[in-house]
């Protein structure tokens, strides 16, 4: 198993805390960080024909935006501190996609930030952290 850690960020404060935590761990253990942004997307939504026609362009814009405004600055910051890292941006359902990426890149650990959403919202839609903890093949760290 490679000595790498997947850290999920999304531009939120929780993602920022996850990144800080992963950075500190990486400094201690010399792990490589996979700086990952999952753009929430499902193949089972309902769209208008116009949305479908524009989808390809939108997808590229979404990837470009996530990369330039969130992932690239994080990678730059990490590199400046001498930490090995790699950017990853992908569409998909968050928990499922993080697990797929963790398996694909053979990571040791997944680090995510806590969203701190309300009970009702979690009851209705579940939480990424909850799903991840239940199904992840590697240990998950949820940074509060």
């Amino acid at each position: 198993m490679s000595n790498s850690v997947l850290v999920a960020i999304d531009g939120s404060a929780g993602g920022e805390r996850a990144l800080q935590y992963a950075k500190e761990r990486a400094k201690l253990g010399g792990a490589k960080l996979l700086v990952t942004y999952v753009i929430e997307w499902s193949p089972y939504t309902f769209n208008t024909p116009e949305e479908n026609a524009e989808r390809h362009v939108r997808r590229e814009q979404e990837i470009e935006k996530a990369t330039s405004s969130v992932v690239a600055p994080a990678v730059k910051m990490l590199k400046a501190e001498g930490i090995a890292c790699e950017p990853l941006v992908q569409h998909g359902p968050p928990a499922e996609t993080l697990i797929k990426l963790a398996e694909k890149h053979d990571v040791k650990q997944i680090v995510i930030g806590r969203r701190g959403q309300s009970g009702i919202k979690t009851l209705l839609f579940g939480s990424v952290a909850g799903n991840l903890i239940q199904t992840s093949p590697v240990p998950v760290v949820v940074v509060p």
């Binding site: 309902f46 208008t48 024909p49 479908n52 026609a53 992908q90």
Partner: protein
């Protein structure tokens, strides 16, 4: 654009005081054109005492031909279609593009509409129970036509400089015919199709829908909206305006999310009504089969039932009209034929499942109580059949009909737009003009008596089947080649199966 909107609404408001007279003027002006166009398109040949419109015959022969020519792809391709929609063949490395499921859902939202609720009632009223049988047969055959047209839609689409795509029959006729050395002919056919789909988008995809939505609302409101068609029309137009011009995606998204649930909700309650009428089920089914071959009590007998069944099926699932191929062309896939497979599920869902269920609701009600609906026809008849068993159902049904109408309008606004941009280019200004015209017609649909205008639009939508099916015949060998090559690669494992 800021100047155009007030102008549009001023125009609409000005037309209000003269409402009644306006109706009559339009009717008087258009009636002769309508009857001329109608009698040309629906030119009927007498057959065993029934009148068979040529255009229906043209569609049926096409559907039968494609079913045989594509080796019964409507049966042999069914399982593969489901696997594609389930995402079994989705490339895990490129998520975020339009999925097969989304393509199907979008196309189904465009076709599931008033026709599934009201059109079936019309078919059963005119063609008897036996029309249901032929409706199902037409749905089954229509699956093959859809397969061919949607494959071509993807194969010959245009990629615009801004990265969006435009496709549909006008594109496959122009480009496909050119490949076969018939460039001039293809251009003429493509232009003709584009004009037809544009006008159709203002008629059956627009005025007919808004009109029926208004009629439904008024019925449920117990006539409280009499004479307020202009108000309902303006509200509907404003909502459509917000979606297609204002770019308020949330409204569209909400509708597109509710529509599938409404469809499931509708089918569920229809099944409940059918079960509540369970003693009538065997007789209702027997009537369908008996009527299909004897045509008892129907003008033109079994052939009469067949004609009505086929006509309503085409109206409902749009196979052969080519509209779905415009919707499917938006999907980015390296294999055009996969969209063909997915699309063959549309007539199945629309006609074989939903229309048949409606027909059984009406059929079982008729067996239980032959006069259950009184004089009601169309949507009102279906509504009465539900009301017999579930008293409160007409209200959600009207709401459902309104949403179906709305989502059909949104889909057709896109089909018409693609006809428009084919003719006038992809410029933003032109597109806005088209969208304004579209909104104006939404409002008009609730204000005027449809009669002759709708006849013209109907006739034109059927008329574009003529070049479309002709194009499908000419280009069918290409589709067959694609299908054979694709299936060989699926079997050999060259095209990988990922999920399940």
């Amino acid at each position: 654009m800021n100047k155009v909107i007030p102008a549009l609404f001023t125009f609409l408001l000005l037309s209000l005081p003269a409402h009644a007279g306006f109706d009559e003027t339009i009717n008087e002006l258009t009636a002769p054109i309508a009857s001329a166009v109608g009698s040309f398109v629906f030119f009927k040949i007498p057959l065993f005492g029934a009148q068979l419109p040529m255009v229906v015959l043209w569609l049926v022969i096409g559907a039968v031909f494609f079913t045989f020519y594509m080796n019964f792809v409507n049966i042999t391709g069914f399982r593969h279609a489901i696997q594609l929609v389930r995402g079994d063949y989705a490339d895990p490395d490129s998520p975020g593009e339009v999925s097969h499921f989304q393509a199907l859902a979008t196309a189904v939202s465009g076709t599931v509409g008033i026709g599934n609720i009201g059109g079936v009632a019309v078919a059963v009223t005119i063609g008897g129970a036996g029309a249901t049988f032929w409706l199902i047969v037409a749905g089954f055959l229509g699956m093959s036509t859809k397969f061919v047209e949607c494959t071509l839609g993807v194969k010959y689409r245009n990629e615009n400089p801004d990265g969006s795509v435009s496709g549909g029959p006008m594109y496959y006729m122009r480009k496909g015919f050119e490949e076969r050395g018939m460039g001039g002919f293809g251009k003429v056919m493509g232009t003709f199709y584009a004009i037809g789909i544009f006008i159709g988008a203002l008629g059956i995809g627009n005025m007919f829908q808004s009109n029926q939505a208004y009629v439904q609302l008024n019925t449920v409101a117990g006539g409280a909206l009499d004479g307020l068609g202009w108000l309902v029309g303006l509200i509907l137009a404003a909502v459509v305006f917000a979606v297609i011009i204002g770019g308020i995606k949330s409204i569209a998204r909400v509708t597109e999310k509710i529509v599938p649930f409404m469809a499931v909700f509708y089918c569920l309650f229809a099944l409940i009504v059918i079960l509540m009428n369970f003693t009538a089920i065997p007789q209702a089914i027997a009537n369908i089969f008996a009527g299909a071959f004897t045509g008892a009590g129907v003008q033109g007998g079994a052939i009469g039932a067949l004609i009505i069944g086929f006509q309503r099926a085409v109206f409902s699932n749009e196979a052969g009209i080519g509209s779905a191929s415009i919707a499917h062309a938006a999907v980015r896939t390296p294999e055009p034929v996969t969209e063909g497979y997915v699309s063959l599920l549309e007539p199945f869902i629309d006609t074989i499942v939903i229309c048949t269920i409606t027909a059984l609701v009406i059929g079982t009600s008729q067996v239980a109580d032959p006069n259950f609906a009184g004089d009601a026809t169309g949507v009102a008849m279906t509504s009465a059949a539900f009301e017999r068993q579930i008293g409160w159902f007409p209200l959600p049904l009207a709401f459902g009909a309104l949403l179906f109408a709305f989502s059909t309008m949104i889909s057709w606004s896109y089909y018409g737009l693609k006809g428009w941009t084919y003719l006038f280019g992809e410029g933003q200004m032109g597109q806005t003009v088209y969208k304004l015209i579209f909104c104006a017609f939404v409002a008009l649909g609730c204000m005027v008596q449809l009669g002759p205008i709708l006849d013209i639009s109907d006739a034109l939508v059927f008329l574009i089947c003529v070049p479309n099916i002709l194009g499908l015949y000419i280009l069918a060998p290409i589709v067959k080649q694609e299908m054979t090559s694709y299936m060989a690669r699926v079997k050999s494992g060259e095209i990988k199966k990922y999920g399940h």
